[in-house]
C-alpha cells in the first residue's frame, strides 16, 4: 500500500477539486471564446517607451492535484529595442510567462486567470495601437501573434513540420501576413530571410526538408521564420539549449547581429546565466512563479541582492573561478501546489531573518531600475 504522505489525495478529494476547477475553467474558456468589439481590449501603455508591459499576471493550471500557480503575480516591462533576459530554473514559470504573452497555453487546463499584458502594436499604416493581450478573445489573436510577436522555440528538431519543405513553411508566413502576396514575392522574402540568418546555400535549404538539416541550421530556419513577418517583439525560449557550444556561439552571435538590423525587442528566456550576461540589457530573475529580482544586467551581475540570485551566480562553476567547493543552495524548489504564504525561498535561504516567516515580501525599489523582493532590504528603504 502506498504510504500516506502530504501529497496523497483520496478519490473524493480529487473529485471535489475537479468540480471546482471545472466551474472556473468553463467561465475562463467562455471569456476566451467570446465575441467582442476591439474597443473592449484596447488600452494605453503606462510608459510609451515600452513595447510590452506585463502587470500582475497570474497564469494557473487547473490540475487534478489542485491549482498550480505557474505564474503568480509577475510584472515586467520590455522597453523598445532592448533585450530582456528572463532567467530561472526549470518550473519557475519563465516559459509559461512567454506562452501567456503568445496565448499558446494549453486549454482548458492552462488559463490566464488575471492580470494585464499590454502590447504596443504597430498597424500597417504606421500608427500604434495598444492591446491588452490577456483580455483579447482568442479569435482576434491573429492580429498580433506571428506578425507582431514571433517566437523561437527551444527544440528546433520538433518545431518544424517534417512533411513540408523549409521553403513551403517559410512562404506560408508571408502568405498569411500579406494577403495579396504572389508566390514569387513569398519566395523572394524567404530567400532574403535565409540570407539574413547566415545560411550559406539558401537555394538548397529552401528546397530541403527539415530532417536534412542539422540542429544549428534548423534553429537558423526557425529564426528566419520568426523574422519573416518583421515582428516588433521576438520571444526566444531557450533558443540554444538543444545545441552544442560552438553552434550556440554561432546562434548567439547571429541574434546579437540581428537585433541591430531589425527594429525590435527580444525577450530571451534561458537558464544559463552566461548567455544572459552576454545578450541581455535587462534581467528578470524568477523563482517558483514569481519575479524575485529585476534590473539592468550590470546591476544583477555586479550587485545581486536576493539570496537566490547570489546563490545562483555562486553555484555556477566558471572558467575563471578556482575554489575547492562550489557554493550550493540546499534543498529543492517547493511543490507548486499549496505554496506557502511566506517567502517561497525561505527553506533554502541562508540569510533568513524573523520577518521571513511573515507575509510574502513585496517588491522593493533599490535604484531607478533595480527591484528586489526580499525582507532583508526593507529596513534600508525605511531609513533611506
Amino acid at each position: 500500500m502506498a504510504k500516506k504522505n502530504s501529497n496523497y489525495l483520496s478519490g473524493r478529494e480529487i473529485r471535489k477539486i475537479a468540480k471546482e476547477n471545472n466551474k472556473v475553467m468553463k467561465q475562463l474558456e467562455a471569456y476566451k471564446h467570446r465575441k467582442c468589439d476591439e474597443s473592449e481590449y484596447l488600452t494605453t501603455m503606462s510608459n510609451p517607451g515600452n513595447i510590452l508591459e506585463i502587470e500582475n499576471l497570474n497564469t494557473y493550471f487547473f490540475t487534478e492535484q489542485g491549482v498550480v500557480k505557474a505564474v503568480n503575480g509577475v510584472s515586467l516591462d520590455i522597453p523598445k529595442n532592448a533585450t530582456v533576459g528572463i532567467v530561472g530554473e526549470s518550473g519557475c514559470g519563465k516559459s509559461v510567462t512567454s506562452m501567456s504573452v503568445m496565448r499558446l497555453l494549453q486549454g482548458p487546463t492552462g488559463q490566464i486567470y488575471s492580470g494585464e499584458i499590454r502590447f504596443n502594436a504597430k498597424e500597417s499604416d504606421g500608427t500604434e495601437k495598444v492591446y491588452d493581450i490577456a483580455k483579447m478573445p482568442i479569435r482576434d489573436i491573429h492580429k498580433i501573434r506571428g506578425n507582431q510577436i514571433a517566437m523561437i522555440f527551444q527544440e528546433p528538431m520538433t518545431s518544424l513540420n517534417p512533411v513540408f519543405t523549409i521553403g513551403q513553411q517559410l512562404d506560408e508566413v508571408t502568405f498569411i501576413n500579406k494577403k495579396d502576396a504572389t508566390k514569387e514575392d513569398a519566395k523572394a522574402k524567404s530567400m532574403e530571410m535565409l540570407n539574413l540568418v547566415g545560411i550559406a546555400a539558401p537555394e538548397r535549404v529552401y528546397a530541403a526538408f527539415p530532417h536534412e538539416l542539422s540542429g544549428g541550421m534548423r534553429q537558423r530556419v526557425m529564426i528566419a521564420m520568426a523574422l519573416a513577418a518583421d515582428p516588433r517583439l521576438i520571444i526566444a525560449d531557450e533558443p540554444t539549449t538543444a545545441l552544442d557550444v560552438t553552434i550556440q556561439a554561432q546562434i548567439l552571435d547571429l541574434l546579437r547581429d540581428l537585433k541591430d538590423k531589425i527594429d525590435g525587442s527580444i525577450m530571451l528566456i534561458t537558464h544559463d546565466l552566461g548567455i544572459i550576461a552576454e545578450m541581455a540589457d535587462y534581467v528578470v530573475v524568477m523563482y517558483a512563479g514569481k519575479v524575485i529580482e529585476k534590473g539592468t544586467a550590470k546591476e544583477i551581475f555586479h550587485n545581486p541582492m536576493h539570496p537566490y540570485t547570489i546563490g545562483l551566480q555562486k553555484s555556477k562553476p566558471t572558467l575563471k573561478s578556482d575554489s575547492d567547493m562550489l557554493f550550493n543552495i540546499p534543498g529543492n524548489v517547493p511543490n507548486p501546489v499549496n505554496m506557502p504564504n511566506y517567502c517561497y525561498f525561505k527553506e533554502r535561504c541562508d540569510r533568513c531573518i524573523d520577518k521571513c516567516s511573515g507575509d510574502y515580501p513585496c517588491m522593493i525599489q533599490v535604484s531607478p531600475t533595480h527591484f528586489v523582493s526580499c525582507h532583508l532590504y526593507e529596513e534600508d528603504q525605511n531609513n533611506g
Binding site: V245, A249, D253, H271, G274, N328
Partner: protein, 332 residues
C-alpha cells in the same frame, strides 16, 4: 576462456590504461555479412589514468565521448585496441570474467529519469547490487544500504519510496548511491549533471567531489560543459569526431590550449559577467557526419588556421612535453 594476461612493467599507480582504442559500428552490410560502410565512433584513443584522479572528457554531441565511456566498461565490445585495468588486459574478457571486474568499475548515466527502475523502491534498487556481488553478509545489507544513503545525502525514510516520488537531483543521488554500492575503484560519470538545474548541479558536483575524497575513487567524467569539467578534473581530454585532439593536465589545457578546436571551444562559453567582452573564435559550419568524416585532419573543414597539408594528411598525436598531447599540423 581467455587466458589472463598480466602486463609487465605496469605502473601500479595507473588504474586504467587505454591503448589505441577503436570502436566502429556497421552501417551497411552485404548479404554475406561483410561490412561495407561503418561509423567510426572512437578512433585510436589512448590515455593513462592514475588512481584517485579525475579525467574529464569534453566534446560536442557525436564526438564519441559516450561511446568511449561505454567501451571502457565493455558495454560496447571495442573493435580494436587494448583496455588495461589494474594491470590486467580486460579487452577479451568474457561476460563471466567481466562480472567480477564490474564490481570495480561502475557508471552513472545522464538521465536520472530513465535510468532507475520505476517498480522498485530505493531500498530495493540499492540492495540488489550489494546482494548480487555479496559485498556484505545478507543480514547486514540493510544497514549497509542505509549507511550508503546517508553518505549520498538521502534520508533514511526514502528507503521505502519509489523513484517517481523524487526530483531530478534526488534521483541522481540514488544513481550515484547505486554505482557506489559495490565499492568500485573507477566510476564513469556520463554527463551526470547536464539534465539538472544549476543550483542542483552544484549539489551533485560537490557530492561527487566529497565521495571521491572519502572513498578514493577514480572518475572518468564525460561532459559537454567545459566549466563543470574544469572544476572537477585533474586531466582533460578533448574529443572531436571520434579522436582525441588534445590531452593534458587541467592547468596545461586551460592555460595553454594547443589545438585550435580546444581554443574555439573555450572561447565559445558565455561568461556570466556583462563587462567581459571576449574575443570569440566562432567556428564556421557544422560538425561533419561521423559516418563520413573529412579526409586529412578531421577538423580542417571548420579550422580557422587550416593549411593545405591539413586537407590531405591526418596529423600525428604527439606529446608536446609534460604529457600534454595534441594532434595538429600547426604545432610542428
Amino acid at each position: 576462456m581467455a587466458e589472463e594476461k598480466v602486463i609487465e612493467n605496469f605502473d601500479p599507480e595507473v588504474i586504467l590504461e587505454v591503448k589505441n582504442l577503436r570502436k566502429s559500428f556497421p552501417l551497411k552490410k552485404t548479404l554475406t555479412g561483410k561490412v561495407t560502410q561503418e561509423l567510426i565512433a572512437v578512433d585510436d584513443v589512448s590515455f593513462q589514468l592514475k588512481a584517485g584522479e579525475t579525467l574529464g572528457i569534453v566534446g560536442e554531441s557525436g564526438c564519441g565521448k559516450t561511446t568511449l565511456g561505454r567501451a571502457i566498461l565493455k558495454l560496447h565490445q571495442p573493435t580494436g585496441g587494448r583496455i588495461i585495468f589494474e594491470g590486467k588486459d580486460i579487452t577479451d574478457y568474457n561476460s563471466k570474467q567481466m562480472r567480477e571486474i564490474r564490481k570495480k568499475m561502475q557508471i552513472i548515466f545522464q538521465d536520472p529519469y530513465s535510468s532507475l527502475p520505476p517498480r522498485d523502491t530505493v531500498g530495493g534498487i540499492l540492495s540488489e547490487p550489494v546482494e548480487v556481488h555479496k559485498i556484505v553478509p545478507k543480514e547486514k545489507v540493510k544497514d549497509y544500504v542505509l549507511d550508503l544513503m546517508d553518505k549520498c545525502g538521502l534520508r533514511d525514510y526514502y528507503y521505502e519510496r519509489y523513484p517517481h516520488e523524487f526530483s531530478g537531483g534526488q534521483r541522481q543521488r540514488i544513481c550515484i548511491a547505486r554505482a557506489l554500492s559495490v565499492n568500485p575503484k573507477l566510476v564513469i560519470c556520463d554527463e551526470p549533471v547536464s539534465a539538472l538545474d544549476v543550483s542542483i548541479q552544484a549539489q551533485i558536483i560537490n557530492l561527487l567531489k566529497k565521495l571521491q575524497q572519502d572513498m578514493g575513487l577514480t572518475y572518468v567524467f564525460i561532459s559537454h560543459d567545459l566549466s563543470v569539467v574544469k572544476y572537477i578534473s585533474d586531466k582533460i581530454g578533448v574529443m572531436y569526431l571520434g579522436s582525441m585532439v588534445e590531452f593534458g593536465t587541467k592547468e596545461d589545457i586551460f592555460s595553454n590550449p594547443l589545438h585550435p578546436y580546444t581554443q574555439a571551444l573555450f572561447s565559445a562559453i558565455p561568461h556570466p559577467d556583462p563587462d567581459v567582452k571576449m574575443n570569440r573564435i566562432i567556428l564556421k559550419g557544422d560538425i561533419p557526419s561521423p559516418a563520413n568524416p573529412p579526409k586529412g585532419c578531421r577538423f580542417h573543414t571548420r579550422c580557422p588556421h587550416a593549411k593545405d597539408i591539413c586537407k590531405e594528411v591526418a596529423p600525428e598525436y604527439k606529446d608536446y612535453g609534460n604529457g600534454h598531447c595534441a594532434a595538429c599540423h600547426l604545432l610542428d
